[in-house]
C-alpha cells in the first residue's frame, strides 16, 4: 500500500510537470487562435484584439497558467476558443470512441500475439517460425499511413466495409442487433489497421522473451519429466517470461488514447484524433493541453498498473 501511495504521489508530480511544460511549449509556439481570423478581411484588428482580451490571451503567462489550473480543479480542463465551451465534455465524448477503438484493437492484438509468439518460439528456427518472423518484419516495415490507405482502398473497391465513421446515419433507427452489426462493420477496418500495426511488436517481444526462458534448465527438466508441451509452454514458460510482457502491457494501456490518432483522421473515426489535429492547427491551446493531459493520465495510469502487476507477479520486486 505504501508503495502504491508513493507511486501515486510521483504521478501527481509528473502530471504537474507535464502540465507546466506543455503549457510553456504551446505558449511559446508563434501565433494564436485569433491570428487566422486576421485573414478574414471583414474583421478589423480592433475586433480581433477585443476577442483576444475576452479570452485572456493578452494576460501574462503565469496568470494564464493559474487560471487554467483553477479550471482544471473545477474539472473543466480549460476553455476551448473555437467551441466556446469547457474542454472536458469535448474530450470525454470523443475519448469514449477512441477507447472503444483502441481497447478492442489492444485486446485483439494481445489475443493473437500471445498464442502466435508462444507457438513460434516453441518452433524456433523451423519454417513456421521463419514465416511468422518474416511476416511480422514485413508488417513492421509498412508505415501505418500506408496500411490505412491500402485498407481503405480495399473497402472502396470491394464495398464490403464502410469507408469511415463510427455509425451509419440511420443508426438511431436500427434495432439492437442491427446496431451491433453496424458498429462491428465500421470498427473492423480501423481495428485491423491498429492490430496489424501493433501485432509485430507484441509478437516479437513475446517470442524473444519465451525463447530465452525455453532454453533454461527448469523447462528442460519439465520436458524431461514428460509434462505435455502445451502445459510447459503456457503454465511454466509464459509466467516466467511475463515481466517484460507486463511492462509492455502497461505501455499499451498507456497509449490507448494516443495510438490511433492517425488512423482516426484517415478513417474519419470520431475520436480524439481529428479534434486534436484541428485544435493544434487552429492553436486552440487549452484543447491541445487538455488532450495532452488526458493522454498523459493514461500513460502514467498504464505504467502504474504495470508496476502494480509486476509487484503482484514477481516476488523479487516485493522483496526489494
Amino acid at each position: 500500500m505504501r508503495y502504491f501511495f508513493r507511486r501515486l504521489i510521483h504521478t501527481m508530480f509528473l502530471l504537474l510537470g507535464v502540465s507546466v511544460l506543455s503549457f510553456l511549449f504551446v505558449a511559446l509556439a508563434p501565433g494564436d487562435y485569433f491570428e487566422e481570423m486576421r485573414l478574414n478581411p471583414q474583421i478589423s484588428q480592433a475586433t480581433v484584439a477585443a476577442m483576444r482580451s475576452k479570452y485572456g490571451l493578452d494576460q501574462p503567462l503565469p496568470k494564464r497558467y493559474f487560471r487554467w489550473m483553477q479550471s482544471v480543479l473545477r474539472g473543466e480542463l480549460g476553455f476551448s476558443f473555437s467551441y466556446d465551451t469547457p474542454v472536458r465534455p469535448l474530450l470525454v465524448a470523443r475519448a469514449k470512441n477512441t477507447l472503444l477503438l483502441t481497447a478492442t484493437a489492444a485486446l485483439l492484438s494481445w489475443l493473437v500475439a500471445i498464442p502466435l509468439g508462444v507457438w513460434s518460439s516453441s518452433r524456433k528456427a523451423k519454417w513456421l517460425d521463419r514465416v511468422l518472423t518474416l511476416g511480422t518484419t514485413t508488417l513492421l516495415a509498412i508505415p501505418d499511413l500506408m496500411l490505412a490507405l491500402v485498407l481503405l482502398l480495399i473497402a472502396l473497391r470491394t464495398g464490403w466495409f464502410p469507408t469511415g465513421g463510427l455509425h451509419d446515419i440511420r443508426f438511431s433507427r436500427l434495432n439492437a442487433w442491427g446496431k451491433v452489426e453496424d458498429t462491428v462493420a465500421h470498427i473492423f477496418l480501423p481495428v485491423m489497421c491498429l492490430v496489424l500495426g501493433s501485432l509485430p511488436i507484441l509478437f516479437r517481444h513475446i517470442r524473444s522473451a519465451l525463447v530465452e526462458v525455453l532454453d533454461s534448465p527448469f523447462i528442460r527438466s519439465a520436458r524431461g519429466h514428460g509434462i505435455p508441451e502445451g502445459r510447459v509452454l503456457f503454465l511454466y514458460a509464459l509466467p516466467a517470461a511475463a515481466n517484460p510482457l507486463i511492462s509492455l502491457f502497461g505501455f499499451s494501456v498507456g497509449t490507448l488514447l494516443s495510438a490511433s490518432l492517425l488512423v482516426e483522421v484517415l478513417m474519419s473515426w470520431p475520436g480524439i484524433g481529428p479534434l486534436l489535429v484541428e485544435a493544434i492547427l487552429a492553436r486552440d491551446i487549452y484543447l491541445v493541453i487538455g488532450a495532452v493531459m488526458f493522454s498523459t493520465l493514461f500513460l502514467v495510469g498504464g505504467n502504474l498498473l504495470a508496476d502494480l502487476l509486476l509487484y503482484l507477479a514477481d516476488p523479487r520486486i516485493r522483496m526489494e
Binding site: R94, T163, L166, S268, P274
Partner: protein, 608 residues
Amino acid sequence: MYASESRKASETKSDRPNFKTAIAIAMFAIIAAGLPRVSAAQGPQPLHAGEEVLVTSGEPGRFGGKLVASLRSEPKTLNPITATDISSLQVIGLMAADLIHINRYTQRTEPALAKSWKVSRDGKIYTLQLRRGLRFSDGSPFNADDVLFSFQVFLDPKVHSAQLDLLTVGGKPITVRKIDDYQVRFDLAEADAAAERLFDSVAVVPRHLLQGSYQNGKIAETWGLATSPQQIAGLGPFRIQEYVPGQRITLERNPYYWKADRQYRRLPYFDEITFLFVPSEDAEVIRFQAGDVDVISRLSAENFSALNNYQRARGYNLFDLGPGLQYEFLFFNLNDIPSKQTEEMAHKQEWFRQVNFRQAISAAIDREGIVRLVYQGRAAPLWDQVTPGNKLWFNSAVPRPPRSLEKARELLRRAGFSWKSDGALADSRGHTVEFTIVAGAGNAQRAKIATIIQDDLSQLGMRVQIVPLEFGALMNRAFETYDYEACVLGLLGSDADPNPERNVWLLDGGMHLWKLHRTTPPTPWEAEIDLLMRQQLTTLNYEARKRLYDRVQQLVAENLPLICLVSPHVLVGAKTSLGNFRPAKLNDYTLWNAEELFFRQEESAKTR
C-alpha cells in the same frame, strides 16, 4: 401532409372515446415532448392565405429523401452571431435567413425576408418592406421586432460579433428603426455602395428565444452544440434535428419555410440534410466515391482528376466551374521596421521597394507553368487581385503580359542591378540578390508555387530559399513580428464586391499585408489606391464605381504590392440524380440553393 395526418388522429379518437387510449395518448404526448427531435422530419405546412412566400424558379422537384454532405471540421456553434469558422457558417446558412440575399450563382442581390426596399436619393436611408405571415422554424411569427433585435445584438460591441465591422459605415454603426410591424428603416452615416450586400451577412434571429440570454449578457454562449433543438429556431430551410459529437449533424425540414416552388408547394424538398464530419480531403473523396456522401466541394485538382475516372461507374458528376474568387500571390515585406532592421534586411528592403524590381519578378514568373504543374490546368493565371470568376468586377483591360526573362533583365538593369561573372545578380553596391520566401507548410499547392518561383528567379541569377512554415507561425510573422522577406499566400473573398476587400487596400486596413506598419508617408500610387477605394465605397452608380475599381486593379498590376499569380478553379461534385444542382463560385458552392435540391428517383444507396 402533416395537417391531414393529425386530423385523422383526432377523428379516430372521437370515434372511439376510450379512457385508456386517451391516457396512453396523453402519456405518449408527454414523453414525446421531452424527447429530442430525432423522429422522421415533419412534412411541410400547407401555404396559408396572406403568407407572402417567395416563389422560386427552379424545376419542380420530388419531396422526401435525405441529402448527405460532409464537413472537414466540426461546426463549433449554431449561433449566427458569434460563428466565424467555415463549418459553422455553412450549417447556420441552412438554418437562418437574411433580409436581402446575395444569390451565389448570379452574384447579385435579391429579395429574401425583405420583399422589397427603397433607397433614399443620397443613399443613406434604406426602407425595407418585410414579408408578412412568415414563421420561424418553431412556428412563432416573424416581424420587425425580430429584425430590430437581431441588429441590436449584431451591433452591440460587447457581443463581439464578426459582422460589427461590416455594419459600421463611415465610422458609425448603422441605426435601425421600426416603422411598423413589417417596415424597417436603416440609417447609414454615409452612402455605402455595397449597403444592400451587408444584409446578407446578418441572420435574423428570433427575439422570443434569445432576448433573455441577451439581457443576461450570455448571448455569445447560447445556441452551442449542446443546446436542445427545441431552443433553436431560424428562418432557413432547415432546422437542427440532432448533433452527434465527432460524427455528424443532421438538419430536418423547416415546415414553415417561406419559399415555394412554381407549383406553390412549400420548400424544401429534402426531409433531412446530414453533414458527416470527415477530417481530411482525402477521406472526404473516398467517402464521396464510395457513395456515402452525395455532394463534395473544395476539391483539389489532384483529387478532381482521381475522381474523374470513375464518374460513370459510380453515378456522380464532377463540375469544373472555372476560376473562383480566391487569388494566390507573392508579396515582399515592405513594412517600416527600423527598430528590428538589421543591415542585411535594410538593403534587401531597398530592392523590394523598387517597382522595377517587383515588375522584373512578376515578368520572370511563369504563371502558365504554375497553372500546369500545380493545378493540372485547373486554375487561371492572374495579374491583379480580381479573378475572371468575379463576373461583376473583373477588369479585362489590365495588361497580361506573357512571361519574359528579357523584359525582366531589362527592368533589373534599369534599376541598377548587374550580373556577376558567375551569373549571380547583384545590386549597385555589389550585394548578391538572395532572399527567402515563406510558404505555409500545410498547403501543398503554395509550397509548389514557391518552388516554381524559386526556379524561375534562379534564371535571373537570384538566389531564393524556401522556408515552409506552419500556418500559425507564418501568420505570426506576417502580422506581428514582420520577420520575413517574401511570402506566398492566398486570399478568398467572401463576396464578389470590392467592399469586403477594403481592409486589404486601404492604407490603415488590418490586412494591408505588405505594409502593416508604416512610419513613412505613402507613395503616390499607394495614396491613389487608398483614395479610389474610399471613393468607390460611397459611389452609388455601378458604372462609375466600376471605373474606380478598374483603376485600382490597374495600379495593383503596375505597382505590384501583391504579385498576383493564379486563381484556382472551383471544383465540385454531386450525385447524377441530384435535381436543381447549380454549383456556384461563391461559398457555399454546392448547397446555396439547398431548399430546391431533390433526388430525381428513389435513392438506393446503402446509407438510405
